[in-house]
Symmetry: C2
DNA sequence: TATTGTTATACTCTATAACTATA
DNA sequence: TATAGTTATAGAGTATAACAATA
């Protein structure tokens, strides 16, 4: 509801001085999730960039380490990346000799995935970096709070 | 580390039967944040789509309601949308007569933003929808847990 | 010269349709 | 006919550079 002249000027001055009122948005879980995510991810991305890994690449390597010989289909569902997009992602990792696709002898349509030795080495380093970072990134929380946060997040998802 | 023939077959069968091991990833706050976010946002987006609002459009309307006559610069910083992207976003909202840009008489470079009457009405409805949804979306949490989750998320951000 | 906001554009991410090879 | 994976492509979201108007 637009104002005119003097009213507008004083309204602008008032608004500029005040702290931003975000009470409604900050009462919503989704808004807080996004803010928290945006505040911690840039650091993580920066660290992973040293290994030329995006967060999703790290996720794939770490899942392959823990689940060798997993099928692409299952990986795709687990990490919420569509089969077409996963295919190109895996092309890149395979091109860097970090993973290997193996035709499944039981069903030649499907492929199973494993880390190469290079991939396993890189994954170990990246996981170490991630867990180091985890401590630094959540230094605003106590150990108990961090555990509680993770528990609540897993309850939602 | 690729296997051959019989070994591979039994490895594949084992992997296919087992639950996916995500322990490393699930120990990281960032991974859990993303999973929680992805699990609650589709519902929110669907509801907001009825008002032809994306989450970020809702955020802008709600912030303008609570902070009339805010400058674009400040809004841009608050919601993490770059000035060029905010400009086109505001173009669309202004084209729908939901908001209005006003040249700041104190500094003609800047513009301040307000909701129109239509915008205020739509924002009220959308905020009502959001808070209704909030209860349904976080029904896996108790009231106390939800409050604690929000508190911890705000500590991180 | 610096700042606010805009335009134009490029880059990344995500989503969809159509194809292959196997079953 | 159905499924796993791929290719190609389109769309949304995000980032950057160059510009106009004002300070």
């Amino acid at each position: 509801m637009p104002k005119k002249s003097a009213d507008l000027i004083s309204a602008i001055q008032d608004t500029a001085d005040q702290a931003l009122d975000q009470r409604v948005l900050l009462s919503l879980v989704g808004y807080n999730l996004k803010r928290a995510y945006l505040s911690i991810m840039p650091v993580f991305e920066k660290r992973m960039a040293k290994y030329e890994l995006r967060p999703v690449d790290f996720t794939v390597l770490s899942l392959l380490k823990a689940n060798p010989n997993i099928q692409q289909k299952r990986l795709s569902a687990a990490i919420n990346v569509s089969p077409p997009n996963l295919a190109t992602l895996l092309d890149k990792l395979e091109g860097r000799h970090l993973i290997q696709r193996q035709r499944n002898p039981l069903d030649k349509r499907s492929q199973t995935l494993v880390l190469t030795e290079d991939g396993a080495r890189l994954c170990d380093k990246a996981e170490k970096t991630a867990s180091d970072l985890e401590i630094a990134a959540s230094n605003k929380l106590t150990v108990a709070e961090r555990a509680e946060l993770i528990r609540l997040l897993q309850k939602i998802a």
